[in-house]
C-alpha cells in the first residue's frame, strides 16, 4: 500500500488533494497580498481616474521628490521611529518587571486573577480606548482637568490642542494597553526555569534581588533579545488607531502624532493625493523589508535557532 502511494506513477493523485485544500488560502493571499505588491508602480504615476490606473502618465520619482520636500516626511519618519523606540524600550522593561513580580506570587489563583486583569486593556478596540482617554482628558469634564488639576489649583490643560504633551501620553497609553499582554511570554519563560537553580543559589546565600539579577535576567536574555529584535523589524510601522483615533485626529497635534501610517491614510482619504500616499506607503514597505532582513541576519548571528528564516 505504502509502496503504491509513493510510486512515481501517481504523484498527482497524492499532491492534488493537498493542493486543493491549500487552494482557497493561496487564492486569498494572492489577491490580498500579492496583487497589491505589483501595484507599487502607482507610486511612480500621476494617477488620474479618468485615464485609469494603467493609463495614467508615468512621472518617475516626482511623487517621492514632492513627499521628501515637505516637512511631513521628516516629522512622520521621526515620530514613527522615536515612538517605536520608546515603546520597545519601556514596554520590554515594564513587561519583564510584571513577569518577575507575577512569578513571585506563590498562589496560582491570584496570579491568574492579576494576569486576567492586566490583559484586559489589550483586548479592547482603539475606539473604546480613545473613549477611555477622552473620559480622562477632555477639556470641560475630563477626570484629569476636573478632579485633579482644578482641586490642586493648577491651570487646566486643553489636552487635545497641546502637541507637547502627546509624546508622554501616547507612550503611557501604549504601555497601559500592551504591557500586561507582553509580559505573558516572559512569564512563561520564567516558569520554565529549573527551580533547583534558585534552591542552590539560596543555599549559597543569595537574596531575592540577587537571584533575579544573577539567574532570572540572564536566563531571560535570549527571549528578550529575540522579542526586541523582532519588534525592531516593525519599527517603521505604527498602530494606526493609536495615532489617529486616540488623539481624535486633531490637527493641532499632528507635529507629535503624525506617523507614516496616519500620513498615508490622510493623503489617500482626506487629501485624495494618491501618488504621494502610494510613495509614502512604498517608502515604508521598502525600509520595513530592509529592516526585517537586517534584523534576521542579526538574530541568526546571536542565536541561529531563533532566526525567523
Amino acid at each position: 500500500m505504502t509502496a503504491r502511494r509513493k510510486s512515481p506513477s501517481k504523484p498527482l493523485k497524492k499532491t492534488l488533494p493537498l493542493l486543493i485544500l491549500a487552494g482557497p488560502g493561496l487564492l486569498y493571499f494572492l489577491i490580498n497580498s500579492y496583487f497589491p505588491m505589483f501595484g507599487v508602480f502607482i507610486a511612480f504615476k500621476d494617477v488620474n481616474y479618468a485615464k485609469g490606473i494603467f493609463g495614467s502618465d508615468w512621472i518617475g520619482f516626482k511623487n517621492f521628490a514632492f513627499l521628501f520636500q515637505t516637512s511631513d516626511a521628516w516629522i512622520m519618519t521621526r515620530n514613527t521611529l522615536l515612538y517605536n523606540l520608546a515603546f520597545i524600550a519601556l514596554g520590554t522593561i515594564v513587561s519583564i518587571i510584571i513577569a518577575i513580580l507575577m512569578s513571585e506570587l506563590l498562589n496560582k489563583l491570584y496570579s491568574k486573577l492579576f494576569m486576567t486583569g492586566l490583559i484586559l486593556p489589550n483586548l479592547i478596540s482603539m475606539i473604546v480606548l480613545s473613549l477611555l482617554v477622552f473620559a480622562f482628558l477632555n477639556a470641560d469634564s475630563g477626570f484629569v482637568n476636573h478632579s485633579i488639576l482644578r482641586p490642586l489649583g493648577i491651570p487646566e490643560i486643553n489636552w487635545y490642542s497641546e502637541a507637547k504633551y502627546w509624546p508622554y501620553l501616547l507612550v503611557l497609553i501604549q504601555i497601559w494597553k500592551t504591557a500586561g499582554y507582553g509580559s505573558i511570554v516572559y512569564f512563561a519563560s520564567i516558569a520554565g526555569i529549573d527551580k533547583s537553580i534558585y534552591e542552590s543559589a539560596k543555599i549559597d546565600g543569595a537574596g531575592k534581588l540577587k537571584q533575579i539579577r544573577m539567574i532570572t535576567l540572564p536566563l531571560l536574555k535570549p527571549t528578550i533579545i529575540v522579542l526586541v529584535l523582532m519588534s525592531m523589524g516593525r519599527i517603521f510601522n505604527s498602530d494606526f488607531g493609536l495615532f489617529y483615533q486616540v488623539p481624535m485626529n486633531s490637527g493641532a497635534l499632528y507635529s507629535t502624532t503624525q506617523t507614516i501610517d496616519t500620513y498615508v491614510y490622510r493623503a489617500l482619504m482626506q487629501l485624495n493625493d494618491i501618488g504621494m500616499s502610494a510613495a509614502a506607503g512604498l517608502y515604508q514597505s521598502l525600509v520595513g523589508f530592509a529592516l526585517v532582513l537586517t534584523v534576521n541576519a542579526i538574530v541568526k548571528k546571536v542565536n541561529p535557532e531563533n532566526a525567523l528564516f
Partner: protein, 297 residues
C-alpha cells in the same frame, strides 16, 4: 519551600505592586462604567467622577428606546465576527495542513509564499485601489470581512507549527493506509486533534473582527453597515463637533437630541461586554499559544 524573611518581604512587595498595577489597569474601565450610570447634569457639573452625586439609568433607557440603531450595529458586528472567523479559520487551517506535511512536495514553497507576505507589502494604496476599483467591495458586508483580517501569515504559520509538532505523521499515514482520503484525514483526524490551536487562533480572529473599525473607515460610508465600533466612533466625532463650538450655530435646537455623554459611555460598556466572555478562554490558552507563536514563529 520554606521562605526566609527576605523572601517573604519580597513576596509581599510583589503582591502589593501587582495589586496596584491591576487596579491601574482596571480604573479607566471603572470610570466609564460609573459614568454610564451617572446623571447627565452631574456629569456636566462635576465632570467624570468615581463617586458621582446622582446615579441614573437614563443612558441605558435611552439605548433601549432607540434600540434599533444599537441592535443593528451589534448585529453587524456579530455577523462579521462569526462569518469572518469561520471563513478565516477554515482557509487558514486548510492552507496550514499541506504546509505541515513534510511528505508533501510543495510544503516549503507554500510556506515561503505565506511567509513572504509578512515581509513585504504593496502598502495600503494599491490594496485600496484593487478592492474598490476591481472587486467593488465598497459599502458591502465583504468590505468588513475580506481585506486585512481574514487570514494572515502569522496565523497560518502558527497553525502549521501546531499541526507539525503535535500530530505525528504516523497517525496520518495510518489513517490513509486504512483508506481515508486527504480531505477526510484533514477534517476527521487533523482538526479534532488540533482543537487548542483552533481555539487560540479563532479567538485572535474573533477579537480582531469584533474590534475592527479600520476596514469600515476605508470602505464603508453607509451607517447601516456600521458595526458597534464604528457607531461608537461616529458618536465620538459628534462630541468633538460639539466641543469645537460650531455645533450651536449649525445644529441649533438639534443639539439636545444628540446622545448624551453617559450614552456614549454606556455604549462603550456594551462594546466591551462580549470581550469579557473571551477573557477566560484567553486565560486558558494564551500562555501556551503565545509562546508557541512568538518564540518559535
Amino acid at each position: 519551600m520554606i521562605q526566609t524573611r527576605g523572601e517573604r518581604t519580597f513576596t509581599v512587595f510583589s503582591a502589593v505592586v501587582m495589586i496596584l498595577l491591576t487596579v491601574f489597569a482596571f480604573l479607566p474601565f471603572l470610570l466609564i462604567v460609573i459614568a454610564s450610570f451617572t446623571e447627565e447634569t452631574a456629569l456636566i457639573r462635576n465632570g467624570y467622577s468615581f463617586f458621582p452625586e446622582h446615579t441614573s439609568l437614563e443612558a441605558y433607557r435611552y439605548i433601549k428606546s432607540s434600540a434599533y440603531i444599537f441592535i443593528r450595529a451589534y448585529g453587524v458586528s456579530f455577523l462579521v465576527t462569526i462569518l469572518g472567523t469561520a471563513i478565516g479559520l477554515l482557509i487558514t487551517s486548510m492552507l496550514a495542513y499541506p504546509m505541515s506535511r513534510s511528505d508533501f512536495k510543495y510544503h516549503n514553497t507554500l510556506a515561503f509564499v505565506v511567509f513572504f507576505t509578512m515581509l513585504f507589502s504593496g502598502g495600503i494604496v494599491p490594496s485600496y485601489i484593487m478592492w474598490t476599483q476591481y472587486f467593488h467591495i465598497k459599502n458591502t458586508l465583504w468590505a468588513l470581512i475580506l481585506p486585512n483580517l481574514l487570514a494572515n501569515g502569522f496565523n497560518v504559520l502558527l497553525v502549521r507549527n501546531y499541526f507539525k509538532n503535535n500530530v505525528p505523521l504516523e497517525i496520518i499515514e495510518a489513517a490513509q493506509i486504512d483508506g481515508a482520503s486527504e480531505l477526510r484525514t484533514f477534517f476527521r483526524i487533523m482538526l479534532p486533534l488540533s482543537m487548542p490551536v483552533m481555539a487560540t487562533v479563532g479567538m485572535f480572529m474573533g477579537l480582531a473582527y469584533w474590534n475592527d473599525w479600520i476596514n469600515a473607515l476605508y470602505f464603508v460610508s453607509k451607517p447601516q453597515l456600521y458595526g458597534i465600533q464604528n457607531l461608537l466612533m461616529q458618536l465620538m466625532s459628534n462630541i468633538q463637533f460639539l466641543n469645537s463650538g460650531q455645533a450651536g450655530s449649525v445644529l441649533g435646537a438639534d443639539t439636545v437630541s444628540l446622545p448624551s455623554t453617559a450614552v456614549r459611555m454606556a455604549m462603550a460598556v456594551l462594546g466591551i461586554v462580549p470581550v469579557l466572555f473571551v477573557l477566560p478562554f484567553m486565560q486558558k490558552y494564551l500562555t501556551r499559544g503565545v509562546v508557541i507563536g512568538a518564540v518559535k514563529g
